[in-house]
Symmetry: C2
Subunit: 432 residues, 2 copies
């Protein structure tokens, strides 16, 4: 008799119910591609009493043991979210010889190493394509399609909420609070938006991407994080007039001189950069490798069906391994422990916007403060746009060490003509 691949699903919320739907709507094609049918056997729910019309016909349980101890179940698909008990459930599944597919960036970012080790120990697969970029294929490309490269840089727009907000601010000139409120009303932002707007969600994804891209173990605590809460319509305006757009980026760099440098922060991106055209809730990940040059992967970074696309494709991949008895073909690729670049050593060009006294000689004092800190300037504008009684100075620096810009900012704070350091944002250099 032909093998049937049996799946246990943990959680049927946004993504879980998308997975149920995709397995149903593309059933025949999936069977062809695997060479065996995939059957969703049991779904773990929290409350058995709750009505779930989309799960009619499936076996439900509120006891994980029913899935764990079911020897027929080959694959556990974890879509509950959160660290616990998701982590424990996945580890237990692998101990019981079941492969695991998940979309859980929290667990992968924090406990990825344990997961890979368990998969290897128990001879099963651990797959997590949906944990970064929703439906966009990026984990498999990094583990497979780009393996000929030393990846030197990744840059991703990996948080749809903040990209939606920044796009709105850019297109319509609205301010941060207004656009946050609208994003919340449309369901793009949570009631408590902190994980998105403060950059933590993007930081988890930055850790996952960098670990894979650079073959090293990057943890959440290694990522320096800055959100979008301080971005104002004025910054976006200046960006525009200088030829940039403002994006929240997850950035990872690896070089023999500096080590591995991973951070999340807003940047001024040249408007010709392929990431600059990635708008609204779309995500994209840009990769630079020493053979391929530049590549970019683009698509919907969230949502029920797009995310389910990645989860079900992982289920198909694992199923092919089961049918062909070929587990662990591609193990953990994070086999090195490279040194991290301390943030002070990182290098970038910066945009600095200052509120200053509107009187002669101010520009000279400010230029001197930058110069003394060995920060050379590419452009400076002094303007009365958007201000009364004062002036604004907008400076863009050449590429400098983070420590130097900090020193310059400290000196600027001491100047009596400087009333406020209004914003400091990294500038991605022109391409080519």
């Amino acid at each position: 008799m032909e093998k049937v691949i049996r799946v246990g699903l943990l959680g049927s919320g946004t993504v879980g119910s998308g997975v149920v739907q995709v397995l149903e709507m593309n059933r025949e094609q999936i069977t062809e591609r695997v060479g065996a049918p995939i059957q969703l056997k049991t779904v773990l729910v929290r409350d058995l009493a709750k009505k779930r019309p989309q799960l009619a016909g499936y076996q439900l349980t509120d006891n994980y043991e029913d899935i764990l101890n079911d020897e027929e179940i080959d694959i556990v698909v974890e879509l509950m979210g959160g660290l616990h008990p998701a982590r424990e459930y996945m580890l237990q599944a692998m101990e019981h010889g079941k492969s695991v597919v998940t979309a859980n960036k929290d667990v992968v970012a924090q406990f990825g190493k344990d997961m890979f080790a368990a998969a290897e120990k128990h001879g099963v697969d651990f797959m997590f394509e949906a944990s970064v970029g929703g439906g966009i294929p990026i984990i498999t490309p990094l583990k497979q399609c780009l393996t000929a490269n030393k990846v030197t840089e990744i840059m991703g727009i990996v948080n749809g909420t903040t990209n939606y907000m920044l796009t709105k601010m850019t297109d319509e000139g609205c301010d941060y609070d207004a656009v946050l409120k609208e994003a919340q009303e449309k369901g793009y932002a949570e009631a408590n938006p902190s994980a998105d707007v403060d950059g933590l969600d993007a930081a988890r994804k930055a850790a996952i991407l960098s670990s894979l891209a650079f073959n090293t173990r990057v943890e959440l605590k290694d990522v320096s994080v800055e959100g979008i809460t301080k971005i104002t319509p004025d910054d976006i305006d200046y960006a525009k007039s200088l030829g940039y757009v403002v994006k929240l980026l997850a950035v990872g760099k690896d070089s023999p001189e500096h080590g591995v440098d991973v951070r999340v922060h807003p940047v001024f991106l040249p408007k010709e950069h392929p990431l600059a055209a990635v708008n609204g809730v779309f995500n994209a990940i840009f990769v630079r490798g020493n053979a391929i040059g530049e590549a970019m992967f683009y698509g919907q970074g969230a949502g029920s069906l797009p995310t389910a696309s990645a989860v079900v494709s992982d289920i198909i991949d694992v199923s092919r391994d089961i049918v062909n008895k070929a587990f662990g073909r591609i193990g953990c690729t994070c086999y090195e422990q490279k040194p991290m670049c301390p943030i002070e050593e990182t290098e970038s060009s910066y945009y600095v916007r200052l509120l200053v006294d509107d009187k002669p000689g101010v520009l000279g004092q400010i230029a001197t403060a930058f110069g003394d800190a060995e920060v050379s300037l590419k452009s400076v504008i002094q303007t009365k746009r958007n201000v009364v009684d004062h002036a604004e100075i907008v400076a863009v620096t050449h590429i400098v060490r983070h420590a130097s810009i900090q020193k310059a900012l400290d000196a600027l704070k001491q100047l009596s003509v400087v009333d406020e350091i209004r914003n400091v944002i990294r500038v991605e250099k022109e391409r080519g």
Copy 2:
């Protein structure tokens, strides 16, 4: 003793020498990723007397038998190009139990089916990531990462030469002949540019992509092809003023009503479309699936190192299969034979540019000719821009059947007020 994976390389031109370079420069990392070293053992060349400094230290031969009969060689990498003897060499390699990696779009488009059958029969791998989009991962995504989807549409900028030319024409307003000459001088276009500018190269890639995306066998002869030779600066100008850019696209669509529709032709693409920003020698492939929605894969579509990135990543993938004894995990996915949509049945919106007599009533006659053919118009402009003594009429139609637009064009040709049908170009509909 640890297994060493041994490679025989056929041809060391642009891509072949890139492969040698990538295997050398990333050797350690590649060994880690495979779990065994990859050794380039023998290189087939045509002329042993020719100096090849980049191959110093490798064993050269001008006799394929030396590779075919070398039992130590696990993988044959074909980078000679052309149909013959490339096809025969690859089939023989597989018969001898060797896996094959190639960048040869000609052979994959024309004899792909034989290749897949041979790989399956002999229990080896046949890989061809580099055959479409150079370094861009697109074959593996279609075979693996997007398998949960029914793919309904692919659209690709898959020919760098023509994209370079159209980008130049758009940015600088130069005409076709000038830009072709420049592309030839820069080495982006061949002395005989026909395969590029007439769309044949893109058609091969369209056949490969559609076969994989739609699980069916699309051959070169099934692709309707139109090149860029008729595109003038005026067309590009009108496109701009209507909010479009002109791109040469490889298009594949699959629907239950119409069957599979594969073609290569210039299109007016809305400037907000993700493909519209793909400029110069860059390539990109846009995919629409019933779960993922929209996705796009972007990068360098040609060149020594970018293409070698794809070839070497394939070599690594095959090597992992060898180390893990896991061949044929993903076989040919083109298991169906779906009906092709006859070109007359395809549907599109069209831009039609006519040279007409400059006198009253002309617009009415023309609108009537369209209407009689059941082609409804979205916009019509009558203008004296770019013409003397005459006028031009530029019409954009709603979505109509190809047969209807042909009928309208036949009627227009009969009108005495129509002096010339200057161009007819498909228009990709607005998104969203």
